[in-house]
């Protein structure tokens, strides 16, 4: 089968919903099969995957770290929706400055951008898959 360009959207909160775990296993399997991951877009509570302040129990998975490392290894584009992130308190240094907040919490390998990035994934990718709540 020829390589397919995939867009992935995650709308379920980490730990609270299985969505980000299922998406992670799906993306790993897709990469192993030689498909291209055009972008992973985090929306709704999915944006909470992108905070570096989580401290999960030591005997459980670290969802943020898993994504950050997978992104590093495969040059994945992990995009956190700015509107959903503002509502939920996920900020990068630039956003924190603009909003007058005294700190940021975005995790390595994630970038904050607009909803247009999800629409673009829908247009450019051959298939878009949503993992949600």
């Amino acid at each position: 089968m020829s390589a397919v360009k995939l867009g992935v959207v995650i709308t379920g909160g980490p730990y609270t919903r299985q969505a980000s775990d299922t998406a992670y296993q799906f993306v790993k399997a897709a990469l192993e099969k030689g498909h291209e991951i055009f972008r992973v877009f985090f929306y709704n509570d999915g944006v909470n995957v992108g905070t570096r302040l989580t401290v999960p129990p030591q005997d459980d998975r670290n969802i943020q770290k898993n994504w950050s490392e997978l992104a590093e290894r495969h040059k994945l584009d992990l995009v956190v929706c700015v509107a959903a992130a503002q509502r939920r308190g996920i900020l990068d240094k630039d956003e924190a400055g603009r909003q007058g907040k005294d700190g940021d919490n975005i995790a390595p390998g994630f970038r904050i951008s607009g909803l247009g990035q999800m629409i673009e994934a829908g247009i450019v990718a051959d298939r878009l898959v949503i993992f949600g709540d």
Binding site: M1, V4, L6, T11, Q18, A19, T22, Q25, F26, K28, A29, A30, E32, K33, H35, D126, R127, L128, V129, I130, F131, G132, D133
Partner: protein, 102 residues
């Protein structure tokens, strides 16, 4: 132009599977993932919902989610194929679109 329908909710708690099955077309595929895999159990009160699809749609359940929930040894509805994440990727890439019934 078949569609891959994904259902991730338990059919005992949520109407997603029922609504999905009300909108599938002949030739489509329905994939049960996460808590959706409970819908694949044989002999349950909701088994009739999927059972009456009668081969018009292809039925799949994600094996890793069945195993996590202790259902690997339980009898499943006839016609349900158990697949892994690789099989999931194959369904997404070979069917024309995917629709998540959240």
């Amino acid at each position: 132009m078949p569609t891959l329908h994904m259902v991730n909710k338990s059919p005992f708690e949520d109407n997603a599977l029922q609504s999905c099955l009300g909108h599938v077309l002949k030739g489509d595929a329905v994939l049960l993932i996460e808590d959706g895999v409970y819908g694949a159990l044989a002999g349950s009160a909701v088994a009739g919902m999927l059972g009456q699809q009668n081969g018009a749609v292809s039925l799949y359940a994600l094996g890793p989610d069945l195993a996590a929930r202790g259902l690997s040894e339980k009898p499943l509805l006839g016609g349900v194929d158990v697949i892994d994440y690789g099989g999931f990727v194959d369904l997404v890439t070979t069917l024309d679109r995917s629709q998540s019934w959240l």
